[in-house]
Symmetry: C2
Subunit: 387 residues, 2 copies
């Protein structure tokens, strides 16, 4: 079954050979892109969708989320905005709610959140565990997350739970918990933040990451969010796919990123929602670092699931152009997940696309907060142009 | 035909006697609210809608927009974000596009934009002219705007068009143009900004406003956006319903607002989209000033039509609590339009409501960029809960 998508006013391919096309078309064959080019030379197909001049971009790749949780912490957010200090301790509340939620409740929450993402143009999402913090609850979280995405990340090392010490918890995370969780995860991640009493220092983070790698998992790091630290350099040294946050960077950190193949994933929704200093994307881009944007959607520090909002923030606050921000939210996210089949619109890649209710990609930053993007991935494909 | 809306997890009434209700219901009789109270004591009705625990708030009242235009200026926005200076001259480009657009094109654009607002929970929108700047084009703009809202504002005094001087343009605005436009407008507005070569100083603004008042129009002012000036005090002195922007205020300005009955309408989307300093809502609220929030949706300085985004910005950037921001976006907007039939959920008022895909109003700021709000105003009423 082939589908011709025509009437594309602007097509951002992120493919260096094709660039951005006006008056474009593409052909989808089942789940894959079969053809991309000018509308005038489009081949025939079994069915045809006219997007009536709208812009089409690669579906957003949200490479950092914590969607597997129960409860919310809107009251904590409101208190923080009123001037209270946030130290990360609020995670314990989400851990309690998540442990208490039956499978069916968590499954329904995950399904609802993924639908919310898709409705906003996100076609790939990474989901971390980290609100279980016991062998059974981490395993359960990952099993459920794996039902909705292949990009599952074991984040037992999210925080050190109350009532235990870091050494014995790291032993659990790298022992029984890793053994149970590894079959259900593609990645392992660790919150490396020596400044936080709840997180992990460089040595503990190295132990976690090396154990994960030995178990066959790819590496990701939460690093340099709350202050300077070893997270970024450790991530690069160990060949992690991505180090996320990158708010406090030294010159050495930037040099390490520029010289390695670890993506710097920026999460400006966190700084928006915690009123913290923003990272500096311009500095990273000018140094030649590969930058991705993601939501970090979680109940504490950023409850937004909107990739268009992250693009708008990236343009307003962290020195990216609209084109750079869109690249970071699509091809950049794909790099951060070491995926070559998404994030770029090219024949053979997955037909994961977003349609904008707008003539150009600039509108994602030009019209902040307006729900312009929707995913154009089957089975919702047909419905989208009827609106 | 009466409709019982039940399953309301949280109902923000903005009615001092009722406050915020949990497990609430309300009855709509045609276009009006007939009953508000606890779900347990709800009366019978002809039909019933269950919003399944969602929060319900008054429909947003967007008391400042410039929706009657053609074209866009996304490229100007991108250039500004890249560091170019914005001096307001870009309005001329929108004037040219708007004049060139046939009635049917402008009518379709207005219909599409109003639908976009409604889909985001806005149930009342004020629309200004100001991209015509000739008698015929201002009149045409207002006629078309009046087809979609009763809150039409004659803003012939938006900028002084190229090729004319301020005195002769003010004579036109207060003479032939006002005579033609007044029957199609409820309000008159003027861009009072002595710092801008394209706008009007205090004397010119006074002339425009006094002429409008004599023609039976209510008064509104764009004031103190780009620098200190006489706009705010002039608005209060003349009894304007609202003075909008209020970015640069002296102590005297704040005292004048606190002592008068002119609403201060803040438009933080403008500062977001122009990377300008934000106004200080906290200072105004602490002084006892009535504050409204609106989008200013226009092709130059803020192309967002999202009232939830303005609420999120108000909480993040200008010192408002989520409850204050929601009040400003609903009851505050109604005050800015001198309307008592909207903005407050109470029997006898219009049944203009927004439903949130969230359990509380806090989520509007807690989940920035996520399309949580939709209007629950007939005829879309039935469709909303099916999603």
């Amino acid at each position: 079954m082939t589908t011709l998508v025509t009437g594309i006013g602007e097509l951002t391919t992120q493919d260096p050979e094709r660039g951005t096309l006006q008056d474009a078309a593409l052909v989808i064959d089942d789940e894959l892109i079969a053809w991309v080019g000018p509308a005038a030379s489009a081949p025939a197909a079994d069915e045809r969708i006219d997007v009536e001049g709208r812009a089409v971009v690669p579906g957003f790749v949200d490479s950092h989320s914590h969607l597997a949780f129960a409860g919310d912490r809107a009251d904590e957010f409101a208190a923080r905005m009123a001037g209270e200090r946030y130290d990360g301790g609020g995670i314990a509340r989400t851990v309690e709610a998540t442990r208490a939620a039956p499978d069916e409740v968590l499954r329904a929450l995950l399904a609802r959140r993924v639908a919310e993402l898709r409705a906003q143009g996100t076609t790939t999402v990474e989901i971390k565990s980290g609100y279980g913090l016991t062998v059974d609850d981490e395993l359960r979280t990952l099993r459920l997350a794996a039902e909705v995405t292949p990009e599952t990340t074991f984040l037992g090392a999210h925080v050190v739970p109350a009532g235990t010490d870091v050494d014995s918890y790291v032993a659990l995370v790298t022992g029984e918990m890793l053994h149970a969780c590894a079959p259900h995860a593609r990645w392992i991640d660790v919150f490396c933040e020596p400044a936080s009493p709840h997180a992990f220092d460089g040595d503990a983070a190295r132990t976690v990451l090396e154990a994960g790698r030995a178990a066959g998992l790819g590496l990701r790091v939460h690093g340099n969010q709350l202050g300077p630290g070893p997270g970024v350099r450790l991530a690069v040294e160990l060949g992690a796919a991505s180090v996320d946050h990158c708010t406090y960077l030294t010159g050495d950190d930037v040099d390490a990123l520029a010289g390695g193949d670890t993506v710097a994933t920026l999460l400006p929704g966190v700084e928006f929602s915690t009123r913290s200093p923003y990272p500096d994307a311009r500095r990273l881009l000018d140094a030649g670092v590969t930058v991705a944007l993601a939501t970090d959607c979680n109940p504490g520090t950023c409850s937004s699931s909107s990739m268009p909002f992250m693009i708008a923030l990236a343009v307003r606050e962290i020195g990216m152009t609209p084109a750079e921000a869109l690249w970071a939210a699509t091809a950049g996210g794909a790099r951060a997940l070491r995926r070559t089949d998404i994030g770029v619109v090219a024949p053979g890649n997955r037909a994961d696309l977003a349609v904008l209710d707008a003539p150009t990609h600039l509108h994602l930053a030009y019209r902040p907060g307006v729900p312009l993007a929707r995913s154009l991935r089957s089975p919702t494909r047909r419905r989208l142009t009827r609106r």
